[in-house]
């Protein structure tokens, strides 16, 4: 654990969750492929409600392999991965501050941005590993049943989920860099996730709102697009760039503020308070280090 210790620590801290989600992904992917033939017949003549078609994305039919796997796997697995990214991402900055361990880390000769980057890469691996382990499940399933999509599109679709998850990881890092409170950061990031998901689902179901989908990252990471139109480097790279920009903003914000010592009350607009207290941020007397540290 010597080199990139914090990166490995991220994996170690959440290894149970990582392994559990990896097993879940593999099992769900395998199961979806295996049950597809029986569903194909049942779904063949079925007319789905308009709202449900939103889950199919660019696919035209639930009975098609791309429609089925989009609705049964790619529509909700990212949410599981995003949840893990939010939990681990808010823990990387605000969680360390709340636990009082950030002082121990930053008393060492490391730049704050490096700490954020190392943690971000660790959490990115933490979510990428279980995400990618769905693919062997697809391959194994295709060995037993005729699925008609092939391994490569499924691999690309699997990779296509990651920028979406990374965007919410970037948001989690940014909110915790802004607020120094893990609960508040996780709450706000989850709120943004819910709003985007709701808007995307609603806009997908209502024809007149279709264009609104483009305001959400879910639209741009739609895996069914990959199956129907092929992989879009532009979409993938723009999403990835947004995620990196959010993480960079988090590192920038964390570089310029005071490190909180111990848990800190929710300060949504703590950055606004700096206007009065200078560039170092403000910690109210009740949460002043002298009071929370128990030391001085």
């Amino acid at each position: 654990m010597k080199r990139f210790g914090l990166l490995w620590k991220s994996l170690r801290d959440y290894r149970v969750a990582m392994v559990s989600i990896a097993v879940l992904n593999f099992a769900i992917a395998l199961m979806d492929i295996l049950i597809y033939p029986s569903y194909r017949e049942a779904l063949g003549d079925m007319e789905l409600p308009a709202g449900f078609e939103g889950f199919l994305g660019e696919a035209t039919s639930m009975a098609s392999p791309e429609g089925f796997i989009t609705a049964e796997y790619f529509a909700w697995i990212p949410l599981v991965l995003i949840t893990l990214a939010i939990i681990a991402g808010t823990g990387a900055i605000a969680g360390e501050e709340g636990a009082g361990t950030m002082d121990m880390l930053l008393a060492q000769p490391v730049r704050r941005w490096r700490l954020v980057v190392e943690r971000a890469v660790g959490v990115a691996l933490l979510v990428a590993i279980p995400a990618l382990l769905g693919w062997p499940g697809f391959l194994l399933g295709e060995a037993f049943v005729d699925f008609d999509l092939g391994g490569w599109p499924l691999m690309i679709a699997t990779l296509n989920m990651l920028p979406l998850v990374f965007i919410f990881l970037g948001l989690a890092l940014l909110t915790s860099a802004l607020m120094a409170n893990r609960g508040a950061a996780a709450g706000i990031t989850t709120g943004i996730l819910v709003i985007f998901y709701f808007v995307h689902t609603l806009a997908s179901a209502v024809a007149s709102l279709h264009e609104v989908r483009k305001l959400t990252p879910f639209y741009w990471s739609d895996s069914s697009y990959v199956f129907v139109h092929g992989f879009s480097w532009a979409r993938f790279l723009v999403m990835l760039a947004i995620a990196i920009a959010l993480a960079a903003l988090a590192a920038w914000q964390f570089e310029r503020r005071d490190v909180a010592l111990g848990s800190r009350e929710w300060r949504l607009f703590s950055f606004a308070r700096r206007r009065h207290a200078g560039p170092e941020g403000h910690i109210p007397p009740s949460r002043h280090p002298e009071h929370t540290a128990g030391g001085d």
Binding site: L6, L105, Q108, A277, E280, P289, A293, G295, D296
Partner: protein, 300 residues
């Protein structure tokens, strides 16, 4: 060892808006010195140390360690600095050894396991236990080991003995003396006077964010109020004989007088020289009394 001060602050301030945690602190600590930083809870000791480590940013003034600016060159500063907080927080899922490995991996030169083993042995710390099972005292011991990693040239210790039993405290003080003998500067914050008295050469007294005094421990004791009891062979001289600044007569009891003397005792001795004194007893003030005087009177 060059003449660059180990720690130099000029007008160092931290204003939280509603609270002025540190008010324009000017301080110079020489290399190889063990410097005590005294003050009650909330005086600003932790704030000062966290400013030196660039964990928080000053609202005024500047600070340098070994000539390096604590903000602009913070990474270089932290490469030569070891830090021990008063309440050491560790990762409960890592053992002491894994914690040392993690933190040591972030320092230049990594971990010298022989030194770590010796230090852990001196402190009777089991590095193979999970830190989550450590008592506060053991967490503090682990913090000591972490602070010493890489042989830092400056040690910033924030109430380092809190949670340590008296035996380990003495071991720790010996460790500090050995470090100072090797040229390490020790900046030692505390509100326990006796330990500062035990190990420090100079002390700074912090009161409500202001550094009100910096003196050698002995000089601080010397300039403080002490009680002197003098016994004469006959009736004591009249009070007018001792009407000197800094001397106050407290009690007359037969042939015995009791005085309160502020600062040096020399004026009293000169006044007594004309009389036949049988006995003279003086009580050395404790640092607690000194500190209380500073707090009550705001003496600078």
């Amino acid at each position: 060892m060059d003449s660059t001060p180990a720690i130099l602050t000029r007008g160092l301030s931290k204003d939280y808006g509603k609270l002025l945690a540190l008010n324009s602190m000017d301080l110079r600590v020489e290399q190889g010195e063990i410097f005590g930083f005294l003050g009650p809870n909330g005086a600003g000791k932790t704030t000062a140390i966290r400013l030196l480590l660039d964990l928080i940013r000053p609202t005024g003034g500047s600070a340098a360690i070994l000539g390096m600016d604590c903000q602009r060159e913070s990474t270089a500063v932290r490469a030569v600095t070891g830090y021990l907080p008063g309440d050491v927080r560790t990762y409960s899922n890592l053992s002491g050894r894994q914690t040392v490995e993690l933190i040591g991996g972030m320092r230049p030169g990594g971990v010298d396991w022989r030194e770590v083993g010796e230090l852990a042995g001196d402190l009777a710390l089991d590095l193979d236990r999970r830190a989550g099972t450590y008592s506060k005292g053991n967490r503090q011991k682990l913090g000591i080991v972490l602070a010493m990693l890489g042989n830092p040239r400056v040690l910033l210790l924030d109430e380092p003995t809190s949670g340590l039993d008296p035996i380990v405290q003495h071991v720790f003080w010996d460790i500090l003396r050995r470090q100072a003998a090797r040229g390490t500067t020790v900046f030692f914050s505390s509100h326990v006077i006796s330990e500062v008295d035990e190990v420090c050469q100079r002390v700074g007294i912090l009161r409500q964010g202001r550094l009100v005094a910096v003196q050698p421990v002995a000089a601080m004791k010397g300039r403080s109020v002490r009680h002197v009891e003098v016994s004469f062979d006959s009736a004591p001289p009249p009070a007018s004989e001792f009407a000197v600044d800094g001397i106050r007569e407290l009690r007359r009891d037969g042939a015995t007088l009791e005085f309160e003397v502020a600062g040096e005792i020399d004026p009293l001795l000169k006044a007594l020289a004309r009389y036949h004194v049988i006995d003279l007893r003086t009580a050395q003030p404790t640092l607690d009394e000194i500190l209380l005087r500073y707090y009550r009177e705001g003496v600078a």
